[in-house]
Symmetry: C2
Subunit: 382 residues, 2 copies
């Protein structure tokens, strides 16, 4: 299958390229290096120094992998995206090419405007490119569980039948997000749903919870092939950040009461989910939505697990409840459904002491690269 | 009260400025002339030639009105918007400054991208300007009934309590729109709801149905003060277009079966609604939503009424069912609630033969300016 990965230099991007490539697919990797550059500017580049995509593709091939085509550019430039479609003629597009950080989107107006523009015009361009090139092409877009927020009712997988005054209809599940970034993801779902209905596009939207993990099967523990692992408040996810804080002797920064519950997923399972979705596309005109997570934890539970593993390894981990810079509920109901992807064949890697142990050992190799000052800067929502 | 009208050169903008000014309020009018220029480029300028805002404000003053401050610029330029806030220190902002046409947004990718960018970054900037200037300022944003689409359940005013598996919560009413423009309006509602929750902004969102009418009380039938009345497929609304088609001897172009039902409102009532909302702001952190319409009609019903009045006036009106260029349901359930604004004091002007008669007589004065070729061009959704 011809696979186009947009946002191939992000945390999930390169790992996804290798995952498809290792299974015999023809992969094209595209990025504009926004995240890599932005995290550098913020003084917090990825923990493990990784080369750019061209060099990674070369190393991948040298270590026995198939060729991966690399194209550098920005998909909000429609002419560029059309040229990518011309070269790669994708059968499936994995769309990661969005500004992915809630904290970044809340830094200031420019960052908020960039997030809206980048995420929405990028997604719009993708829909147009599929339509205008006539490609019979399935779009797999990464969404986020954050689109739903923390409603007082059970969270279904994307859709809800609503009965009201004796009549019924089916709608997108109500969404109400906690940042400009998360709101932009509600909005790109709305865009793709419009194009599915109106143009008959075939779309999968993967509502993913926070991802954790550093290494995937395909990188063979070879640092140059590992994910771009950010650990700071802006581009890092919470569990990854906690492990790095523990290794650096920095207290784990729990926001407020720490009762915030989310659905989590191992990066290895992200790859499975994206792959399984790609192998089994929805029909034309269908927006298929899966909740992409394998278990739920509160922030306090995560901190406790990291403390336990860290202390066993001799780190003397402390947890600190800091004033919550975000505006969010710190104690709430949370009951999401997430059976769609296991029905499709996902075999979850759950969060165990062993998994944390592996993360600690890998992070420890890069301890001297940790920038303690930027792990937590307290970007405020208000 | 200090009132800032963004998008003051549009169909509703200048009429709104006069309406507030006539009631003793200090009005600032802002526009970048996008709509005026775009409709000229499309070969379909407003039917009644009207001068720009500076000249209108001068005429308004000469005819006994209060001074209206005019500032020319683009609110997607944040520095410009901040300078407007500095000059005018608004207590209420009427936000019309969006690309308002469904057909325009569906013309091509550039128009779609412009619509998203203009409508979302403009709305984002407005929220930031209110927050960063510390203005105790109520935002009144024009939404559209089109955000709801045509669901199979009754349409409430913005909010819906949902019971699911024995639990309850209140959400924005499910929305699913029929164009990129309408989708951008779902999205700006999501943005303002986020800022209401997160920053405590006070927001009214007016979900307006298609507006009709040419003259308002304040223009005194003086053409230079009349609304910018577009009648074509792109910037005109359906009833206005039908009246112009009838006068021009062009068949009324009903899309498909003509069973599409919508909620309509006279431009005089739009002014009342915006005024009443401004005089009675919601509390901080509240997003208050009204459905702004006074009665419902199917397209066939509108065509029939225009035929009747037109034939009485000797126009020999014909109706033609053209292939629907849009993707929409042509027969559907439609039962919106719209009591909030009448509760606030709205006294509706309903659509009568007399109202249509007045519209016909006014349009007839400008018959030679009608461009028959651009009334219907069939911009296709697919």
């Amino acid at each position: 299958m011809r696979v186009l990965v947009l946002g191939a230099d992000g945390y999930l991007g390169w790992a996804t390229c290798m995952h498809f490539s290792a299974r015999g697919h023809e992969v094209t990797a595209v990025d504009n290096y926004f995240r890599r550059n932005a995290s550098k500017k913020l003084g917090c580049p990825p923990l493990i120094p990784t080369p750019g995509l061209l060099r990674r593709a070369k190393i991948w091939k040298e270590t026995g992998g198939n060729a991966i085509r690399v194209l550098t550019g920005d998909i909000t430039d429609y002419e560029f995206l059309l040229s990518v479609f011309g070269r790669c003629r994708p059968e499936v597009v994995i769309h990661y090419a969005e500004q992915p950080s809630a904290a970044y989107s809340m830094m200031h107006r420019n960052a908020a405007a960039f997030t809206l523009q980048n995420n929405l015009v990028g997604t719009l361009n993708l829909a147009y490119a599929v339509k205008e090139t006539g490609a019979a092409c399935h779009i797999v877009k990464l969404g986020t569980m954050g689109e739903y927020g923390t409603p007082g009712i059970d969270i279904e997988e994307g859709w809800l039948e609503i009965e009201h005054k004796g009549r019924k209809d089916k709608f997108l599940f109500p969404r109400q997000a906690g940042s400009i970034y998360h709101t932009s993801k509600i909005q790109d779902t709305d865009l793709l749903w419009f194009f599915a209905r109106t143009w008959g596009l075939s779309v999968t939207d993967l509502m993913q919870g926070p991802v954790y993990g550093i290494s995937t099967e395909e990188d063979g523990m070879f640092p140059d092939l590992m994910p771009n692992f950010n650990y700071d408040e802006v581009f890092g996810t919470v569990l990854n950040r906690f492990v790095v804080q523990a290794v650096a002797g920095h207290p784990l920064t729990v926001y407020g009461k720490g009762g915030q519950v989310r659905g989590y997923i191992n990066i290895k399972d992200t790859l499975q989910c994206v792959y399984l979705s790609s192998m089994c596309p929805p029909g034309p005109g269908e927006l298929r939505i899966f909740n992409q997570m394998t278990e739920t934890f509160s922030v306090n539970e995560l901190a406790l697990m990291v403390e336990e593993t860290g202390n066993k390894l001799g780190y003397g981990v402390k947890t600190e409840h800091v004033e919550n810079p975000r505006v969010e509920q710190e104690e709430h109901y949370y009951n999401p459904k997430f059976t769609g992807l296991t029905d499709l064949g996902l075999k979850p890697h759950y969060l165990t002491g062993e998994v944390l142990d592996d993360m600690f050992r890998l992070v420890a190799n890069y301890k001297e690269r940790i920038n303690r000052n930027t792990i937590f800067r307290g970007i405020r929502w208000r």
